[in-house]
Amino acid sequence: MPKKNSMPMKERAVKPRIVTGDEFLSAERCVAIHRIMVRARVMEERMIKMSKSGEGFFWIGGPGEEAFNACLGLQVKKGEGPAFDFLLLKYRNSAAMIAMGMELIDGVRQMAMRWSDPFSAGRNFTGHFSRKGWNVVPVTPVIEVQFVMAPGTALMQKRHGGDGVTIVIGGDAGSAEGDFASCLIWSTRPGNELPVLMLTTNNGFGISTSHASQHSCEHTTERGKAFGIPGEVVDGNDPVASWFAIERALRYCRSTRRPFMLEAMVSRLYGHSSSSGAPHSGEPDCLALFEERLLAAGVLDQAALDQVHEAAHAEVEAAVEQVAREAKPTAEDVQKFTYAPSKVDSVYPGDYTGLP
């Protein structure tokens, strides 16, 4: 179990600050995290409207997970190839992507199914990101399959040298899939341990089925004990606690080249997806809770908070307006990107062109 971090002197000197226990984040860091959380929330709430207005179809996303994901995205070693972190995400990680530098308009493009959608060319659901330049592999709707891919990326990272980590994220319900167990086994093969950070964001539900009704162990981290994988459970609604838990977990994986498990207890503010109507669940809201602390600590006043929200709304509305004018995929685009060009294929030397 990694020891808790002592703050760099630079951050110790900055006041005011937000404190949890004996850990704290500087005002500057808190402002940055808050802005990411607000932009993610406003984008997702606008997408929910899009799912109801006909501007988009199905919505699924991350309201309630912004605190944890913003802290994660800011600590990723971003880049392409095995020298950098790999991200094997699920569909509730928009705040992590925004923290890494994703423009909100790109999220909107995917929701609006535009050809300009940089993640899937209008093919996949919202929140199903993919960005090769950031090592964000395609998110798939198939639950938990990312956990059997993680040993592969981590193997290449370990072989490459350096400190790149494979960060793989799933939900508490998804941990019932065998792929979760596969990741435990493959990342701890004796002598071949792998730098995999197994993250679970536990919102207590798989669609309508409660975690407690199906799982006798309270936390996924308990399952790591049999494999010698250290773990930690953190309040994912608390950005301070989340920041330092992620920092400890990543430091462990980077330095030991072994796996670590981290489970963040989070809320699910709008239910599973638009399929349940996406009403507000009334669960604790990490954004509202953080704003109370920012106000109480004097990091931001109400006017400053309002300004962040207003700016985010303006950004998203401008994005929705622009995206509405952008091209949709055409019938000619249906087959594109099926195959990479091949010198040894006589039928499809380029892309797929229909039946042979």
């Binding site: 395609p138 059997v148 592969g152 596969s182 195959y339 990479a340 091949s342 042979p356």
Partner: protein, 352 residues
């Protein structure tokens, strides 16, 4: 002459040395066994995995994402059914992400009957595999093609599944692999691990050379004007044998087309042959309901209907839950020489 399993081993070695193969892995793939059929003995990148087919496929995908070029093995295709959704994902990653990611993985798995494999070592997989859009699927019927198809599978930047006919893995070919020693015993001494303690054994690889069998190109192994038979894998040599016997007995000359690539298949070759002969029989051993051969039959009927002299036909495995262990079951479940010959004779003899 090399056996098919030796040819695969040689191809993987060539792939390691020349085509960037980074990992050859699967259950029992690494030392000491080198694969239950010995296809991976002596390979420098071969390693053993947990008994976890989903883990094998998923790890191959992860290796490919991170810039590697993996060749993974599912020990028998019969145990690959629990990976179907992962195979779908592997096949759609490039398409789903707008072309951002290539998925250069090779999945090798023995397929079909012929080794007294009973219920779970006798399945065929090509019909299932042919429905995995984004994949390319090949199945050789001789060692040289196995070598050439494996090199193409490795060189292709898309997911390629190499189905190996179990029944033919130990059979020698009649053509040398480029660079292969002419003496089969010499090749065996060089690359087959000894029985017993092999902890100090190292292969001596012959100076094999590049030889690609392009994907999507069939091979016309017998030529004739009287009928066409299309097959691949285990049933291909049976079709060739049946054609030879009919030629000797009746004078009938038959085009025997070894498809080699299930997808993309060589439609040009099928069409050219049917336009010439007007008669076609498709033979494989997968179960007959929604069999890949039915797809070919559909295209023959829709696109070549007016070129046909007689009704087109198929000979497949029976629609049964499995193949029973007693040889009576296998003989009467999947096509054998006798029924193939009878079907070909009937095809040739039917009046137009």
């Amino acid at each position: 002459m090399a056996t098919m399993v030796q040819a695969v081993r040689l191809a993987l070695h060539y792939g390691e040395e020349n085509l960037g193969v980074t990992d050859v892995f699967g259950q029992d793939v690494g030392p000491p066994l080198g694969g239950v059929f010995t296809a991976t003995q002596g390979l420098k990148t071969a390693w053993n995995t947990p008994l976890d087919e989903r883990g094998i496929v998923g790890t191959a995908m992860g290796i490919a994402y991170a810039g590697g070029r993996p060749m993974c093995e599912i020990q028998f295709c019969d145990y690959g059914f629990n990976t179907i959704d992962l195979l779908k994902v592997a096949g759609n990653q490039r398409w789903a992400a707008g072309g951002q990611w290539d998925m250069p993985i090779v999945l090798m798995t023995p397929s079909g009957s012929g080794i007294r494999g009973s219920l779970y070592h006798s399945h065929s997989f090509e019909s299932w595999a042919s429905r995995l859009a984004g994949w390319k699927i090949v199945m050789p019927s001789n060692p040289l093609d196995a070598y050439g198809l494996m090199l193409s599978a490795i060189a292709d930047p898309n997911p390629v599944m190499v189905l190996l006919p179990k029944a033919l893995l130990r059979l020698k070919g009649d053509k040398l692999i480029p660079g292969e020693p002419e003496n089969a015993d010499e090749l065996k001494k060089m690359i087959d691990a000894p029985v017993g303690d092999r902890s100090r054994w190292q292969p001596r690889w012959p100076a094999i050379q590049e030889y690609f069998v392009p994907l999507g190109v069939a091979s016309l192994v017998r030529e004739g004007d009287d009928a066409t038979v299309v097959s691949y894998g285990r049933t291909l040599p049976l079709c060739a044998q049946a054609a030879d016997q009919l030629r000797q007995e009746t004078g009938a000359a038959i085009d025997v087309l070894d498809l080699r690539s299930i997808f993309p298949y060589d439609w040009k070759a099928i069409r050219a042959s049917v336009e010439k002969t007007g008669r076609i029989l498709i033979v494989n051993e997968d179960t007959e309901v929604t069999n890949f051969g039915e797809h070919l039959l559909r295209r023959v009927v829709e696109e070549l209907f007016y070129d046909l002299s007689v009704r087109p036909r198929v000979l497949f495995g029976k629609h049964l839950p499995g193949i029973g262990l007693n040889p009576v079951y296998e003989q009467n479940t999947v096509p054998q020489l006798g029924p193939i010959k009878e079907a070909l004779a009937a095809l040739v003899q039917e009046e137009a």
